[in-house]
C-alpha cells in the first residue's frame, strides 16, 4: 500500500445538488488538474499558483467544455491529506460529476477507496487516531450539537486532556519505580498522600468523561422520544410541523403511516429521534395486546414520552376522557422518572370552554406536563419545541466541556477507571509499590488506547473501515 499515486473521488454526497466538490490528492494532483483546466481570463497554469488559492475556469476535454468550475489548490504539506490536493467545485448534476471524475481517471488518477483521504492524512501525520475517528463522526453528524463535539475532538481537545492525565500518572509511576529499584539507598519515598490526591483527581475527570458519554451518545444518535397515541391522532402532522416541511405522508385514513416512523428532527441544534408507537389501550385482543407490549418496549428505550390525543374527540366523549386519564397515569406509574408530555392536538377544533375543562382534568396529573397544540395550524409548536429542549441536559454542551461520543473511547475510559479504582484501593490498604505498579501500568495502557500512545493493529482496521468515501 504505497501511496505514490493520485486519487480522486466525490467529496460531497452522491446525488444531484446545487454544487458538488470533487477532490484529488497525490503528488500529481495539481499537474493532472492542469491538463483539464482552462482559466477564464488569462493563460494561467495551476502549477504556478500559490497554495490556498481559488481559480475560476473551465474543465475541458479536447476543446469541449464540461463545466464552469472553481478550483482550490492546497500544496503539500499544507493540505488535509498532507499531499498536493485539488478541490473542484462544479455544478451538482450527476452527469457533470461523473464526466469530470471519468476525465480524471483517464488522465491517470485512481478512484479513492473508502476512507482513503483520511487514511492518507493519518499516514502523513496530519491526524492522530482519535482525530481520524472524529472525522468519521463529523461526516455522519447531522445536528449542531454532535457536529460541535466532533469538531472539538478533531481539534484534539479530548485526547489532549487524557494525554495530560496520562503524563501525570506516568510521573508518579516513575516515582514508585524509583523507590522499588533503589530501596537500599537513601531515597525519599513517593508521597502517598500526593499520590492519593492525584488518583482522586484522575477518578473525577474519568467519571466526568464517562458520564458525558450518556449525553454525548444521545447527542450523537438523537434523543429518543416515544409518541404514544391511537392511530390518526395526528402524529405525522405533528412531526411535519416540527420538521417544518411536508415529509411524512399525512392523510385522514387511520393507519396511513407505517408501523413505526422513526424520524430524526433537529430542534435547537439537538437531534430528537421520534418513535411512533401504537396506543396502550386495554384490550382482550391477542394481536393488539402484542402491540401494547411493543409500545412499552419502545417507551423503555425512549428518553422522553409524548402522549398525543385529539382534543375534539376527547372533549365530546366522556368515556374517552376517562380512558386517557387512566392511560396517562399508567405510563406515569410505570416510568416515574421519564419526562412525560401530554399533548392535546387539534386545539383549533374545540371551544375555549372545552379547553378549560380539558386543562382542568389533565394538567393536574403529577409528574407530567400538559399542553395544547394544533399541528396543522402551527399553534403551540414553538412552545412544544422549547418544552422538548428543556428535557435535555445541555449544560455540559454549553460549558464547552469535553464530551465522549465514541464507544471505543468509552470502553477504554471505563477500563482505565476500574484500574484507577484498584490503584486507589491498593493505596488505601498500603499495597506494595510493585503490585500497585501493575494496576498503574494497566491504567496507562488504557489511556494510551485513547491517545494512540500504544498501537493496536485491530484498532486501525476498525477505524479505517468506518470511513465513507471522500473523507
Amino acid at each position: 500500500m504505497i501511496n505514490d499515486d493520485t486519487i480522486v473521488a466525490l467529496a460531497t454526497p452522491s446525488g444531484a445538488g446545487a454544487i458538488a466538490v470533487i477532490r484529488l490528492s497525490g503528488d500529481d494532483a495539481i499537474v493532472i488538474a492542469d491538463t483539464c483546466f482552462q482559466s477564464i481570463k488569462s493563460e494561467k497554469t495551476l502549477s504556478n499558483q500559490k497554495t490556498h488559492t481559488i481559480h475560476l475556469g473551465h474543465i475541458v476535454e479536447d476543446g469541449r467544455t464540461i463545466d464552469e468550475v472553481l478550483v482550490s489548490i492546497f500544496k503539500n504539506p499544507n493540505s488535509y491529506t498532507g499531499e498536493n490536493v485539488v478541490e473542484i467545485s462544479c455544478h451538482g448534476s450527476n452527469y457533470i460529476q461523473q464526466e469530470i471524475i471519468q476525465l480524471f481517471l483517464r488522465k491517470g488518477c485512481r478512484m479513492a477507496t473508502a476512507g482513503e483521504f483520511t487514511l492518507r492524512a493519518f499516514l502523513n501525520g496530519k491526524l492522530d487516531l482519535s482525530q481520524a475517528e472524529a472525522v468519521a463522526d463529523l461526516i455522519s453528524s447531522d445536528n449542531e450539537a454532535s457536529h460541535q463535539i466532533a469538531m472539538q475532538q478533531m481539534r484534539g481537545g479530548f485526547s489532549s486532556e487524557i494525554a495530560k492525565l496520562r503524563e501525570e500518572l506516568l510521573n508518579f509511576a516513575s516515582l514508585i519505580e524509583l523507590e522499588l529499584d533503589f530501596a537500599e539507598e537513601d531515597v525519599e519515598f513517593a508521597d502517598r498522600t500526593q499520590f492519593k490526591e492525584l488518583i482522586e483527581r484522575i477518578r473525577f475527570v474519568l467519571k466526568r468523561l464517562i458520564d458525558s458519554f450518556a449525553v454525548g451518545n444521545v447527542i450523537k444518535n438523537g434523543i429518543p422520544v416515544a409518541i404514544v397515541g391511537e392511530p390518526n391522532v395526528g402524529k405525522s402532522t405533528l412531526l411535519n410541523a416540527l420538521l417544518n416541511e411536508e415529509r411524512a405522508i399525512v392523510s385522514e385514513i387511520a393507519g396511513t403511516t407505517r408501523d413505526t416512523i422513526e424520524d430524526e428532527i433537529s430542534i435547537g441544534g439537538i437531534g430528537f429521534r421520534f418513535i411512533d408507537t401504537a396506543g396502550i389501550r386495554e384490550t382482550k385482543d391477542v394481536v393488539e395486546s402484542i402491540g401494547i407490549k411493543k409500545t412499552f418496549e419502545k417507551i423503555d428505550q425512549a428518553q422522553v414520552v409524548v402522549y398525543l390525543f385529539e382534543s375534539d374527540v376527547v372533549s365530546n366523549d366522556h368515556m374517552k376522557s376517562n380512558t386517557i386519564r387512566v392511560e396517562i397515569e399508567k405510563i406515569r406509574n410505570k416510568y416515574p422518572l421519564k419526562p412525560l408530555l401530554v399533548i392535546a392536538n387539534k386545539v383549533d377544533k374545540i371551544s375555549e370552554n372545552q379547553q378549560l375543562k380539558l386543562d382542568d382534568t389533565l394538567s393536574k396529573i403529577e409528574g407530567s406536563s400538559f399542553m395544547f397544540i394544533s399541528a396543522k395550524q402551527n399553534i403551540g409548536v414553538d412552545a412544544l419545541k422549547q418544552q422538548l429542549l428543556s428535557y435535555v441536559n445541555t449544560g455540559a454542551l454549553r460549558n464547552n466541556d469535553t464530551i465522549i461520543t465514541n464507544s471505543r473511547h468509552y470502553d477504554s475510559l471505563i477500563k482505565a477507571f476500574e484500574e484507577v479504582e484498584r490503584v486507589r484501593e491498593g493505596l488505601e490498604s498500603g499495597l506494595s509499590g510493585d503490585l500497585l505498579a501493575i494496576d498503574i501500568r494497566q491504567a496507562l495502557y488504557h489511556f494510551g488506547e485513547i491517545t494512540g500512545e500504544i498501537s493496536n493493529d485491530d484498532l486501525l482496521g476498525n477505524i479505517f473501515a468506518n470511513f465513507c468515501i471522500g473523507k
Binding site: M1, I2, N3, G82, L119, F122, L123, N124, G125, D128, L129, S174, E177, L180, D181, F182, A183, E184, E185, D186, S429, L431, S432, G433, D434, L435, A437, I438, R441, Q442, Y445, G448, G452, E453, I454, S455, D457, L460, G461
Partner: protein
C-alpha cells in the same frame, strides 16, 4: 602452537568471558579462553558483592540455565541478604557480599574442571576476518589462533585510561595494562565505537578503622543462597558490613580538590552511570544533602582489606585520603589503594543481533562492558548467551534467545540491541514490564527446561526443579481443597484483626487475605501436619505462599504479557526498505534502518519511533 581450529575463542576472562567459555565448552564446543593474565580470572574489579535488586534475579536466571555465577556466588559468599523482602515477591532480590579472592579462585577451579576448555595467556591484538566472517584471533606475539567464532569480552581494557586527579595512565584495571588494537580494527571494519567511564572507591585497611563508631549491618538471620542446586549450602556464619556517613566537613574537603578532578576539569569526556555516581558527583549534584551513606564492606573472610562503598572517586589521592579521614570511624584510616576512574571503548550494542552476534562480522560476538553495560551480573548473563549462541551457530543449530516476559536476560539484551545505551546500562526491575513474572523464586521454572534442552543444565537440575514445583503445586491444591472450621480459624483471624468467618470454608480463601501470612496459616493444625508429613522445605513452602497470595497479580501480568506480545509475532522482513515510507518521521526511518528490528514489537521499543510511526508501519505491513 595452535594447530587445531577452535569452535569458540573467548577473549577476556572476566564475568562475561568466564560464563561464555564455560557455556560453550559445556555444550561440547572446543573452546579456548584467552586472557592477558591468567592470575586474574573472574576478578571483581569493583565491589565485592553479587546480586542485588534486579541483579540477583539475573544471577538466579544464569544458574537456572546452567551457568556458574550462582554457584560461585554461593561458595564465596561471606554474607547473604534478601533485599526488598517487605515488598511483593517480584521485588525480593538476593545479594551476597563475597570473598573477592575466593570468588576468583572458585571460578578458576570450576573452569579448570570443565571439559573441552583450553586456556592461554596473551593479549589478543586483532581478529582474523575473511569475507565478513571471523576465522580467528591474532595475539600481540603475532600468533594466529584459528576459530570458527570469537566472543569478545574485553571489559574496560580496550584503550583503558585510568584517572586519579590530574594524573592519568593507560590501564585496564588498577595494576594491569590496557588492550590495544582491537578497537581500531573493528572501526576499520565499519563498527561505531564510543567511550564510557566508570569508577571505583578506595580500598582501605580494616585494622585502621573504628567500627564501634559505625552501625553494624548484619546479614539475614536465615540466609538463603543463589544456586537452585543442592550442591551449595546456605551460610552458617556471616561477616557483617558497617555503615557510616559523610558530613559537610568531608564535602568541603572534597570540594578543595575539584579543580584537579578529571570529572570537572573536562579531562574525562565520556559518560558515567547516573545511578552509580562518584562522591564528587553526589555532592556537586545534590548540594542540599548534608550527608551521604557509606557502606563499609569486608573483602573476604580472612583479609583485613575493606571496600568503601559509596565513595567512588577520581579526585587526587591526597584529597581522597584527607576527606576520608574526616569520616566518622575513619579518623586513622590507612589506604591500600586509592579510588580511580577509568575510560574505555565500547561498541554501541545496536550493532548486535538478539544472539549478541555482530551484524557486520559473522561469528563475532560481544558480551559485557564492550556493549556498554555495567555490573558483573549483566556481563555474566551476556557472556552466557554469547557462549551459547556461538556454540549453537558453529553446530548449525537454531539460535537461542529469551523474550522480555521470559527473563531479565531477555529484557537486557532486547534493550541493548533495540535502544542502545548512552551511559553504562544497569538492570532495574522497572525495565522489565512483566516484572511480576520474572521472580527470583521461579527462574528455574522459567529457564531450566531451556537450559536442559541446550545441554547446559543437568538432568539432576531439571528433576529438582520439577520436584520442587510439583510439591508446591500439591501444597497449593491442599489449600484449595481443605476446609477449616470457624472455631479453629477465627482466633487466628482475630489476632490479625481480620474479619471472622461464620462457617467452614476453604483454607485458600483465608490464606489469600492480605494480612494473613504463612506463619499465621501454619497455626491451623492440618496445615502444619501437611508440612510435616510431606517434609516440605522452606523453598517449597515459600513457593506455595507466593502462588496463593499473589495469584491474582501473577495471572493479570501473564494476561497483559500475552496481550501485548501480539506485535511480537508481526515479523518485519529482513532488509525492509524504510525509505519508502515517507509518512514516517525522518528520525524513525533512520533509526529503523540502522537497527533493523525483526518484529513490529521490537520496532515500537526503539527510542525516537513514535506510536504514530508504528501505526504507519503496521498499515504498510498490511495489518
Amino acid at each position: 602452537m595452535f594447530n587445531e581450529v577452535y569452535d569458540v575463542i573467548v577473549v577476556g576472562a572476566g564475568h562475561a568471558g568466564s560464563e561464555a567459555a564455560a557455556a560453550a565448552a559445556n555444550m561440547g564446543s572446543k573452546t579456548l579462553l584467552v586472557t592477558m593474565n591468567l592470575q586474574n580470572i573472574a576478578q571483581m574489579s569493583c565491589n565485592p558483592a553479587m546480586g542485588g535488586i534486579a541483579k540477583g534475579q539475573i544471577v538466579r536466571e544464569i544458574d537456572a540455565l546452567g551457568g556458574y555465577s550462582g554457584i560461585v556466588s554461593d561458595t564465596s559468599a561471606i554474607q547473604f541478604k534478601m533485599l526488598n523482602k517487605s515488598k511483593g515477591p517480584a521485588m525480593w532480590s538476593p545479594r551476597v557480599q563475597s570473598d573477592r579472592m575466593r570468588f576468583a579462585e572458585d571460578w578458576r577451579m570450576l573452569l579448570e574442571g570443565t571439559a573441552n576448555l583450553d586456556f592461554y595467556q596473551e593479549m589478543v591484538s586483532g581478529l582474523l576476518v575473511e569475507g565478513g566472517k571471523v576465522v580467528g584471533v591474532r595475539t600481540s606475539l603475532g600468533i594466529q589462533i584459528k576459530g570458527k567464532s570469537v566472543v569478545l569480552t574485553n571489559g574496560t581494557f580496550l584503550n583503558g585510561l585510568i584517572h586519579i586527579g590530574d594524573k592519568n595512565f593507560g590501564g585496564g584495571r588498577a595494576g594491569e595494562r590496557a588492550a590495544t588494537g582491537i578497537t581500531e580494527q573493528l572501526v576499520d571494519l565499519g563498527f561505531d565505537s564510543g567511550r564510557m567511564k566508570t569508577g571505583t572507591p578506595p580500598r582501605v585497611d580494616g585494622r585502621s578503622l573504628d567500627f564501634s563508631k559505625m552501625s553494624e549491618q548484619p546479614g539475614d538471620e536465615n540466609p538463603e543462597k543463589f544456586s537452585y542446586l543442592k550442591a551449595t549450602r546456605p551460610l552458617t556464619k556471616q561477616r557483617a558490613c558497617h555503615m557510616t556517613y559523610t558530613s559537610l566537613e568531608v564535602h568541603d574537603l572534597l570540594r578543595e580538590g575539584f579543580d584537579r578532578s578529571p570529572m570537572f576539569n573536562g579531562r574525562i569526556k565520556s559518560l558515567g552511570p547516573r545511578y552509580c555516581p562518584s562522591i564528587e558527583d553526589k555532592i556537586n549534584r545534590f548540594a542540599d544533602k548534608d550527608r551521604h551513606q557509606l557502606f563499609i564492606e569486608p573483602e573476604g573472610w580472612n583479609t583485613c582489606e575493606v571496600y568503601v562503598n559509596g565513595f567512588s572517586t577520581s579526585l587526587p589521592e591526597d584529597v581522597q585520603f584527607k576527606a576520608l579521614r574526616s569520616v566518622v570511624g575513619f579518623e586513622n584510616v590507612k589506604f591500600f589503594r586509592p579510588g580511580y576512574a577509568i575510560e574505555y571503548d565500547y561498541f554501541p550494542p545496536t550493532q548486535l543481533k538478539h544472539t549478541l552476534e555482530t551484524k557486520i562480522v559473522q561469528g563475532l560476538y560481544f558480551a559485557g562492558q564492550i556493549n556498554g553495560t555495567t555490573g558483573y551480573e549483566e556481563a555474566a548473563s551476556q557472556g552466557l548467551m554469547a557462549g551459547i549462541n556461538a556454540s549453537l551457530k558453529v553446530n548449525e543449530k537454531d539460535a537461542f534467545t529469551l523474550k522480555r516476559d521470559e527473563a531479565y536476560i531477555g529484557v537486557l539484551i532486547d534493550d541493548l540491541i533495540t535502544k542502545g545505551t548512552e551511559e553504562p546500562y544497569r538492570m532495574f526491575t522497572s525495565r522489565a514490564e512483566y516484572r511480576t513474572l520474572l521472580r527470583q523464586d521461579n527462574a528455574d521454572l522459567r529457564l531450566t527446561p531451556k537450559g536442559f534442552e541446550l545441554g547446559l543444565a543437568s538432568e539432576n537440575r531439571l528433576r529438582r526443579m520439577e520436584e520442587k514445583h510439583q510439591a508446591a503445586k500439591n501444597f497449593v491444591s491442599f489449600f484449595e481443597t481443605t476446609s477449616v472450621k470457624p472455631e479453629e480459624i477465627n482466633p487466628i483471624l482475630e489476632s490479625k484483626k481480620s474479619a471472622k468467618v461464620n462457617q467452614s470454608g476453604k483454607l485458600f480463601k483465608v490464606f489469600a487475605r492480605p494480612n494473613i501470612d504463612m506463619a499465621d496459616i501454619r497455626k491451623v493444625e492440618s496445615v502444619e501436619s501437611y508440612i510435616q508429613d510431606h517434609n516440605l522445605d522452606r523453598e517449597i513452602i515459600e513457593q506455595a505462599e507466593i502462588q496463593v497470595k499473589y495469584a491474582g497479580y501473577i495471572a493479570k501480568e501473564k494476561n497483559n504479557a500475552d496481550k501485548l506480545t501480539r506485535l511480537e509475532y508481526v515479523k518485519i522482513p529482513e532488509g525492509f526498505d524504510y525509505s519508502q515510507i515517507k509518512s514516517m518521521s525522518f528520525e524513525a526511518r533512520e533509526k529503523l534502518k540502522n537497527i533493523q528490528p525483526t518484529t513490529v514489537s521490537q520496532a515500537s521499543r526503539i527510542s525516537g519511533v513514535s506510536p504514530n510511526d508504528i501505526s504507519v508501519l503496521l498499515v504498510y505491513m498490511g495489518r
